[in-house]
Subunit: 250 residues, 2 copies
């Protein structure tokens, strides 16, 4: 069933549908009075809703609260070294949203080839946020992840805190370490937060990883195969979901 | 380091490099005599190799065996309902290869909108196989996954066997089932094989899932969010890697 996010709080059983959503619902999907769909309000509560009027403006009735919450039990911030191509950030944001990320931050790593000036940042982040919003609706999330930009690793470490901070580090896997990720994620509890850092195409530099280690961030391997910059965050989120949502551990 | 697959067996310490690889190595990467790279021979053994001549033909010396095997301890066959767009099979094959799949089969599901006739199958599978080969080199696999096509679910069930057979089924997640995937994957042992079936964009039909259940295939949920047809196999492979390679269980 179609799901939409509406940035409003519940004030009664009826709710006015914003124009862009009304357009999608009535013109694109050809919904008529009586059509059911899902609405997530500003407090992340999802409702089964029914269209009760289309003119002069679209109005919905909130039929019932939907009990199921599809958010990960822990909030995961993905911090990704800015990739070179346009497609990779889009893929990370779309798939990261489906897989439950609460935030996706692109930061300029030492080996990032791209650089987004202020104007480009605004344009790019706005486009990526739209991709996140659409993916959040499609995957039936209860919250839309935020997409953000960060000029440097230093700023990233200053601005983003979490109860657990990890960095995906290929050399960690090469050195034979193969269980730190499992051990770390097994310790997560409901409502914990995780900051997970990933390098750009060329990987992180040893200097960057040293700075992170000095800041208490734990290097973890993601298995013996070399994952591309856009694949590693998806592996990570899948592992978080698998251990926190499916294992019965938390 | 650059890795190539060569369909030859070891007969001595020197090996003739096929023309396409020689072209990539010498012309694209500008390798010269003495440049080191990795070769995986037909028996899936990886070697550190050194270029010893470029003309009249490129020849390499096998310096040493590389001990590390980057294959998943279990072989995973992904069987994906044929998606509508060109991009989705390509994404599944590329990322599925990075994440360790041993085979990717596209089958025509009830709700598959695309249909590949014999000519199209040949062309499409050949292109997808090239994507798999390139991804296997880049991710430092020891084996290239096979990409295959299957005309129907019936044929899929007849042609592909495995020690464990699972189907990703959204309704399984909706009904509150949330640990069958974890329970199943926890039981895997080294050298087991897993057939994992995924629906196309519109999902599998209840009739298809019934047929699978009659054949002993277990429906498993992949968490509470709705994953797109190309995301579900990546979640699955990540979970297999996480439990078999990082948990210390197997």
């Amino acid at each position: 069933m179609q799901r939409y996010f509406i940035d409003q709080v519940k004030t009664g059983d009826r709710i006015n549908i914003p124009k862009d959503i009304a357009h999608h619902l009535v013109t694109v999907l050809r919904a008529t009075v009586g059509t059911e769909f899902e609405l997530v309000l500003a407090d992340h509560q999802a409702y089964l809703a029914k269209l009760v009027s289309t003119t002069p403006r679209a109005t919905a009735q909130l039929v019932e609260k939907l009990g199921k919450d599809s958010e990960l039990p822990v909030s995961v911030i993905l911090a990704c070294g800015l990739p070179k191509t346009k497609e990779k950030p889009e893929l990370i944001v779309q798939k990261g949203t489906e897989l439950g990320a609460s935030k996706v931050v692109f930061f300029e790593a030492e080996r990032s080839i791209s650089h987004w000036n202020t104007q480009k940042q605004t344009r790019k982040i706005s486009r990526l946020q739209k991709i996140a919003d659409a993916a959040a609706e499609q995957s039936h999330r209860n919250a839309k992840p935020q997409v953000e930009y960060c000029a440097s690793l230093k700023q990233l470490l200053a601005d983003y805190s979490a109860t657990m901070r990890l960095v995906a580090w290929e050399e960690s896997a090469k050195s034979g370490e193969s269980s730190r990720l499992y051990q770390s994620l097994s310790k997560l509890h409901k409502n914990d937060s995780v900051l997970a850092i990933f390098g750009p195409e060329g990987g992180l530099s040893t200097a960057e990883v040293s700075i992170m280690e000095e800041n208490g961030i734990i290097p973890v391997g993601l298995g013996p195969r070399i994952l591309r910059t856009e694949t590693a965050p998806l592996y990570f989120l899948s592992a978080v979901s698998f251990i926190t949502e499916l294992s019965g551990n938390s």
